[in-house]
């Protein structure tokens, strides 16, 4: 069972309190983008065994979206952080580096 700390309301929420929102840090490609970029945005997702960044919504609680960094193979949670950001905060990256040296995910490392 996954338990994530909601950075918006400060509650440790159980997986059943939450709604999974898929991969975090997608760059939206809108009108004017190339077909290839739009296809990537629409369909192509990371599918890592290990470090992953996801969007979650505290649906039964405060109703806010937030981001979580976790490991898909061990379910270890490295941390959660507010969704109003384009990349994970340095503090989260440092925590991951301490436990998974040499990790990378998309353009982050």
């Amino acid at each position: 069972m996954l338990i994530l700390h909601c950075p918006c309301c400060g509650v440790d929420a159980d997986e059943t309190d939450l709604h999974a929102g898929g991969q975090a840090h997608l760059k939206r490609e809108g009108p004017g983008s190339s077909d290839d970029d739009f296809e990537d945005y629409l369909f192509m997702r990371e599918n890592p065994k290990g470090v992953h960044f996801e969007r979650w919504r505290h649906v039964y609680g405060c109703g806010k979206w937030f981001h979580a960094a976790r490991c898909t193979s061990t379910l270890e949670v490295f941390g959660t952080y507010p969704a109003q950001t384009l990349e994970p905060p340095q503090e989260i990256k440092d925590k991951i580096s301490a436990k998974r040296p040499g990790w990378s995910w998309g353009t982050f490392q």
Binding site: C9, G10, D12, A13, D14, D17, Y60, G61, C62
Partner: protein
């Protein structure tokens, strides 16, 4: 005017822990900037209770303020005063970005009263209800069984549960069943 009735019209399931529908309660959803002085002032005017911190509820009789999310409050007033309270809020906050809506008839309030009321809730919600982490005044939005609900402790022996009116009967039956099956004793 129509004759307003609450969802379960005061239904009671007596026992060691009594489950009782609270009857008509005035509830107002207030969304806006919770740090705004005007908003805090009008909340104090309407309820005369202290403004709650994150994850808290302050209540006095039928009046109270519950912290729902970083931009949302639940304002509790006596049922007949809800319209007046909204008029006061509208007058005070005119021109700012906010929303105040009377949800009294869309919700139901159920009281859980008795010595092991903590166990009755803990069996149904995925929340940490240990006496060290959930105390009187703490407020939590989560789920009870299959439905969304919010609850807080009025005192050591009383929980107040708020749920949607459409699931009031389910929530009541769920709480009554949990109370009937007795104390777990895990927190003792």
């Amino acid at each position: 005017m129509s004759n307003a009735v609450s969802a379960l019209q005061g239904r009671t399931a007596p026992g060691e822990v009594t489950i009782r529908e609270a009857g008509l309660r005035g509830m107002i959803i207030l969304r806006g900037d919770l740090a705004d002085k005007k908003l805090r002032k009008v909340c104090a005017d309407v309820t005369s209770v202290k403004f709650p911190d994150q994850g808290q509820a302050n209540s006095e009789g039928d009046k109270g303020l519950c912290w729902m999310s970083p931009d949302e409050l639940l304002v509790l007033v006596p049922y007949t005063e809800a319209a007046d309270a909204i008029a006061k809020i509208d007058a005070k906050l005119a021109g700012t970005h906010y929303l105040a809506e009377n949800v009294s008839d869309a919700r139901a309030v159920i009281l859980v009263e008795g010595a092991f009321c903590r166990d009755v809730i803990a069996k149904l919600a995925p929340a940490d209800l240990h006496p060290d982490s959930f105390k009187p005044g703490d407020f939590r939005r989560t789920r009870l069984g299959q439905v969304a609900a919010a609850f807080w402790m009025r005192d050591e022996d009383t929980f107040e549960v708020i749920c949607f009116r459409s699931v009031a009967e389910y929530t009541f039956d769920l709480l009554a069943m949990s109370a009937k099956s007795g104390e777990v004793g895990h927190f003792a």
